[in-house]
């Protein structure tokens, strides 16, 4: 006789108090994934200013007065954009490190150390993010 285990609604965030390290890793991976895919669409939209810029006069392009350069320079002059970029880096680094961890788990490597590798992902994400702050905020003040 077959047995089945009904897990109910798979994503029941109301049970967050019962979450183990693996569940938090999964929630963070999902959250960072949503942020990254949202950013991808925004990123292409902003970079699309290169399309009208490419047909501007050579003199305007040489003087960096085109719409693409001006858009990026204007965005980068805003402190809030610089801070959001640090946030984006943190999100991307966590998604990369936890993604590597997931690829290893899928291959059956390090199954006993899943919790430790999640904590390592978090610590390394924090360290890389903090170390990157001077580069990301350079010239913003």
């Amino acid at each position: 006789m077959s047995q089945s285990y009904n897990r109910g609604l798979i994503e029941d965030f109301g049970r967050w108090r019962e979450f183990s390290a693996g569940m938090w890793a999964w929630v963070f991976h999902k959250f960072t994934g949503w942020v990254l895919v949202g950013y991808l669409f925004t990123h292409i939209a902003v970079l699309s200013t290169a399309i009208p810029a490419s047909s501007q006069d050579a003199a305007v392009l040489a003087a960096n007065g085109d719409i693409y350069t001006e858009t990026i320079v204007a965005l980068e002059s805003l402190l809030v954009v610089r801070i959001l970029e640090v946030g984006l880096l943190a999100v991307a680094v966590f998604h990369i490190l936890n993604g590597l961890r997931l690829l290893l788990v899928d291959l059956g490597i390090g199954l006993e150390s899943q919790d430790k590798s999640f904590y390592a992902s978090l610590i390394l994400t924090g360290a890389i993010t903090v170390a990157s702050v001077p580069t990301f905020l350079a010239g913003a003040f």
Binding site: I10, L40, F41, I44, I51, I72, I96, A138
Partner: protein, 124 residues
């Protein structure tokens, strides 16, 4: 023996492609961040510098592949998350095709942008 219990289509290849694109994106996303924030700084971006990078066929090809894999991985990830959340039936079909349409728009716009830098003619 336990019954097969999964939200994913049995025998589907999307699961594998999500992992293949993940392995590629781990490397290329890290490279992208490193090149455009640490080697070149974001506040020093100019059209000419972006153009100089994109005129190299190897860089252009890498960025197009980056666009395609990131779009697939991101949009398929969103779809998987919604299916896990309990999306079924007609709603699932509507969401699926909306995401397919959004992906196609993103790919077209991304290629048009890359072509604007590389100097290639875009026919759409």
């Amino acid at each position: 023996m336990a019954e097969h219990y999964s939200s994913f289509t049995k025998g589907g290849r999307l699961w594998l492609w999500q992992r293949i694109t993940a392995a590629f994106l781990v490397v290329v996303l890290a490279f992208h961040f490193f090149l455009l924030h640490f080697v070149n700084h974001a506040d020093e971006v100019t059209f000419a510098m972006s153009q100089a990078r994109m005129e190299s066929l190897s860089y252009y090809s890498l960025m197009i592949l980056f666009l395609v894999t990131a779009t697939f991985h991101g949009v398929n990830g969103v779809y998987n998350a919604l299916v896990n959340q309990g999306l079924t039936g007609t709603k699932r079909q509507v969401v699926k095709w909306t995401l397919v349409a959004a992906s196609l728009l993103l790919l077209v716009q991304g290629v048009r942008t890359a072509n604007a830098w590389a100097g290639y003619t875009t026919f759409f």
